[in-house]
Symmetry: C2
Subunit: 312 residues, 2 copies
């Protein structure tokens, strides 16, 4: 265990797999995870925080590993009947999963901030990490496409990323203040990690919150990212499509360019070694290794490399 | 089938069993059921209408027959996890059942009246009855006991009717207007049935709604009740305890006295034949038969007798 305080910016599935390794390398109580809330959506009157839940369930060891989200062995009795009642069921809600959404929604309606509810869930799952939603305010990621403007989850889950994206906006970003502790933790961290998440919609929605990007630029801590793009393709999700749609290169180099104003090191896959020189040229140190996290040992190895880069 | 228009006042389990028989005797589209909402309660931020759901699930043939409420074969995965999150779980919410509550709550928050949502559920279960909540306004039954004042469901479910009841109040009854169609249906019915439900808290909460009791007094239709009390005891629930607590006789005679201002006939169990003369003396016609509904044929037989009393 390396006892340094770490901040990790995190989206959903990719981040969670990386964080599973990280908690084996750094004690949980030294880790602050800044989570994405841009995917948050109201379904059946419930407030759902897909990325916070994926991080929570994964680190708690209850996640459905084959899907990467939801509870292992969950059932869908409630959702099936909602379908019978004529409700849309494209957003999969397992019966156990519903407990999280009911709990969160009731507490939010009672006036508790999302960050407090999230930390309460962390504690109830026996975890000792700090999981901070980037903001307690409403911030929602919308994509403009050839078939209209829609919530990111609609684009991602309902329409399976098939519409052609023309732009991404973060609704509420201008007024969204970072959650208390977010800027402080970046300022005071020994190291900052950018998880292998979608740069545009996951990390991007965090960076859109007022003050976070500039805190990353100003922190004395080293900032180390892991490229979610390998050989021009994302391991999971539509990061490559979205990067191309926004005129960025859908490669590890594109990731380095997108983060260049605050990134010290970018960990890239060995398959992308040929991009190392160009990454160096944009002012980011490239480190090539195996970034595909198939087994637990892959995750731990990647976390070790990332953490070691923080004190180089 | 007897093609007369019928209004039936109904509570939960006892009423539903009787109504199962009634729909075999009278066409569904001739039946208006006025349902009790006094037991309605908010749990985990969801609006729950226990009695409306029992009627709905029973007539739809999906009810858990052994319990008399909830869905047959329902699971409790969501509730189990809510317990892990520290929530009270004394009010049993099955996973399928949750779909009804989620659907109702979301529609209520969107401004739809409870009656419209209820009729929509009726239709979605393929039923052709009209199920009207007594009121679309908030009306909640509270009991005052030796250990404090509490919602009826807390007394009934959480505390299993063990506190000593000192009084019953219907919160909101003064301002609760009957749902559109309730008074008209009583006025225009060929016959009115009072189901074998708790006179105090189920039928009582309906009678507490402004105008309903006087509509029952004024209707030209005959009003026929079925005593929920046999041999001084309720078949199900705490009606006998509550009647005694309020200074009423906990017998079929007590039921006749409580309904005497609008009741023409009271169907009592053969076991209570000895009370027939006294019931007659309070101005109600007693009809003794088997009122215990063990089999489907019992339910149909009881409904036939009740319906035949409507045109005597």
């Amino acid at each position: 265990m390396v006892s340094i305080t770490i901040v990790a910016l995190a989206g959903g599935i990719g981040a969670s797999r990386f964080l599973e390794g990280l908690v084996c390398v750094v004690p949980q109580n030294k880790i602050t995870i800044i989570g994405n809330v841009g995917d948050d959506i109201e379904i059946h009157g419930l407030h759902i925080s897909p990325d916070l839940d994926i991080v929570l369930y994964t680190l708690a060891g209850v996640v459905d590993k084959s899907k990467g989200w939801g509870f292992r062995g969950d059932t869908f009795a409630c959702q099936d009947l909602l379908g019978h009642y004529g409700r849309e069921t494209w957003f999969n809600l397992g019966d156990k999963d519903l407990a999280t959404h009911l709990y969160r929604t009731e507490q939010l309606r009672n006036g508790k901030p999302l960050s407090e509810i999230t930390q309460d869930l962390v504690r109830r799952f026996g975890l000792r990490i700090r999981l901070l939603p980037a903001t307690d305010k409403v911030l929602q990621t919308f994509v403009t496409t050839n078939v209209g403007r829609m919530h990111f989850e609609e684009y991602m889950v309902k329409r399976r990323t098939s519409p052609k994206v023309r732009g991404v906006t973060f609704e509420g970003a201008v007024s969204a203040k970072p959650t208390s502790g977010v800027l402080e933790s970046i300022r005071e961290a020994d190291g900052v990690l950018i998880s292998p998440s979608n740069p545009i919609v996951s990390i991007g929605a965090i960076l859109a919150v007022r003050g976070i990007r500039s805190a990353l630029k100003r922190t004395r801590a080293r900032v180390v990212g892991i490229s979610p793009i390998v050989n021009g393709k994302t391991v999971k999700g539509p990061a490559d499509k979205l990067m191309r749609a926004l005129g960025l290169k859908s490669t590890a180099l594109g990731v380095a360019e997108y983060y260049r104003d605050f990134l010290d090191t970018l960990i890239i896959d060995r398959a992308d070694r040929k991009l190392a020189e160009q990454i160096q040229q944009v002012g980011v140190k490239p480190v090539a290794t195996n970034t595909l996290m198939r087994k637990k040992s892959d995750k731990i190895q990647l976390a070790k490399i990332a953490v070691s880069e923080l004190h180089c």
